[in-house]
């Protein structure tokens, strides 16, 4: 394109409509940051509130990814972690699939705010995912799937 002027209309451009993606990474924690960064950017392009893109999405997603890599796939780089993302702009759904046998979501979630847990080093991941997302589910389907749903906040 050269002849036509593609000049700016002024103001912020209308945001992206729907977005989905599906990708697969080897089990290596060094991929967490780039995946989180990708999803954060899409979150912003879809015009979700700033706080949801800077806090809820990155923390919940990095927990789910590190559990998939370290717990599900036990850091075996030959085992892939799959990330499926879908959003129509109203809610955002992320599914993380690992090659592990799965786990009992209810029983594995501790309350880290109880006095006896407060000084523990571990056990805050699932709690944070539940606190920061509107829904967390787990099921087996070609692997262990953790599904997180976040609605657009007002």
């Amino acid at each position: 394109m050269a002849a036509t002027d593609g000049g700016v209309n002024g103001g912020v451009p209308p945001h992206w409509h729907h977005t989905s993606f599906d990708l697969e990474i080897p089990s290596d924690v060094r991929h967490i940051e780039s995946i989180v960064d990708l999803v954060q950017r899409v979150c912003r392009e879809l015009a979700f509130p700033a706080r949801q893109c800077s806090l809820n999405v990155p923390v919940a997603l990095s927990e789910a990814l590190s559990n998939a890599i370290l717990r599900g796939n036990q850091r075996d780089p030959s085992k892939p972690v799959r990330v499926r993302f879908n959003s129509d702009g109203d809610r955002l759904v992320v599914e993380i699939v690992d090659q592990g046998a799965g786990f009992d979501l209810q029983r594995s979630t501790r309350d880290p705010t109880r006095p006896e847990n407060l000084t523990r080093e571990d056990g805050r991941g699932l709690f944070l995912m539940k606190s920061l997302m509107d829904r967390i589910e787990r099921y087996n389907q070609g692997g262990n799937v953790v599904r997180m749903v976040m609605n657009r906040h007002a």
Partner: protein
């Protein structure tokens, strides 16, 4: 992602630039433990340049705070942005740590 360590008077100041997550928290832990070994007893972690922290990053802070206290030392945190404050409140870790608004206040408080 990087950690910068400087000393202000007797205080070991650690700046966390970028994320504090499963991929790099071991590095933070080692750096602080090295300073503790070398005799440092007052520690300040400054989150002014920090993005997000995951549960393993929080875990490292809890563990460092214990180890420092065992040696008769103290750990203070400073400059949590609103997102990080929320994270500490959700996990009630705001009750476990001494958190200052600014680096200066944290330094004065030792």
């Amino acid at each position: 992602m990087s950690f910068t360590i400087t000393k202000q008077d007797e205080v070991v100041v650690v700046e966390v630039e970028g994320q504090l997550i499963v991929g790099n928290r071991q590095e933070l832990k080692q750096k602080v433990l090295d300073e503790l070994e070398r005799g440092g007893r007052k520690f300040l972690i400054d989150f002014d340049q920090t993005g997000y922290i995951d549960s393993s990053g929080l875990g490292v802070l809890v563990s460092l705070s214990k180890k420092i206290r065992e040696q008769g030392g103290e750990l203070r945190l400073a400059n949590l942005n609103d997102d990080l404050k929320t994270l500490f409140e959700l996990t009630k870790l705001d009750t476990l740590f001494q958190i200052a608004d600014t680096k200066e206040r944290a330094l004065e408080s030792f």
